[in-house]
Symmetry: C2
Subunit: 166 residues, 2 copies
């Protein structure tokens, strides 16, 4: 799971808000992670708003617009997680490093299904005061993680925290 949040734990002001507020070091980090990874999992909103960035990458896009799955082009697969075994799908496609990029619904799906091994959390030194949290409010779960490393990205104090599951 790769996510950028404000210091008050918001990933966006609303579901159409782009991540233009994150620092350039975070964007470089994200690109490097995607270059190393085998597959990106995103929701369709996130995919559409990041199309230029994602269209050449191996993407699994969560959507309810298909019943099971549909290959859109050579690199993008639309999948309805309600009717497809996602773990098996990703294993069959031989995906080892799977980068979960959001948005909130996709993060929540992976948390609920206990499939988050690592969290890369960038914390930008700003406050929105409102907006979307990392996970959906309806998710009644508690999970423990362990902090592996802290990296300071820049002089303003954007931080990259790396957690692994306990």
């Amino acid at each position: 799971m790769i996510v950028a949040a404000t210091l008050d734990g918001k990933i966006a002001k609303n579901s159409h808000h782009l991540s233009s507020w994150t620092c350039k070091e975070d964007k470089i980090f994200l690109r490097n992670m995607l270059n190393k990874g085998d597959c990106v999992v995103v929701g369709n909103n996130t995919y559409q708003t990041s199309l230029e960035f994602l269209k050449k990458r191996n993407c699994v896009v969560f959507t309810t617009s298909v019943k099971t799955l549909k290959a859109v082009n050579g690199s993008c697969l639309y999948v309805n997680p309600k009717n497809v075994n996602i773990e098996k799908l990703l294993k069959d496609r031989n995906c080892q490093q799977i980068n979960i990029l959001g948005g909130q619904q996709v993060y929540s799906w992976f948390l609920k299904n206990n499939l988050i091994d690592e969290i890369y959390l960038t914390i930008e030194p700003i406050v929105f005061g409102f907006g979307l949290s990392l996970f959906k409010e309806t998710l009644k779960t508690q999970k423990n993680f362990k902090l592996k490393s802290v990296k300071k990205f820049n002089s303003q104090g954007s931080l990259l925290l790396h957690y692994t599951r306990v």
Copy 2:
């Protein structure tokens, strides 16, 4: 502002949830801050649930149960922030280091009124997936801060982040 949150930005599961989930190092840090400070500002919920911890300290307690203000005992002052000039009150009482301990409504009041000079944010390495954010969702504001320091409290990776206003 002193606050402890989960890595998904939640300060409590609900308004009656105590901060029993924070690490002992954070509790020691909090006690040291209160010992150094001149005054604590809290909401009445937080005050009542932390009475043992707060009753001997100089407390300003936000509440709508009084019209303006009412001294409850030698150390506690009930104040209705709608009808009292809080900045003047705290200046008149010669408070320099004012520790704002929450809950969410009190944090939001200070953010909205642009009165937060510093944030001490403890991030525990757990996820609630739901609960109360640092600030009320109705608050439409954006503020920039600057990270001054990062301290790792323990081997699990509880972190103390210190921010100042820009």
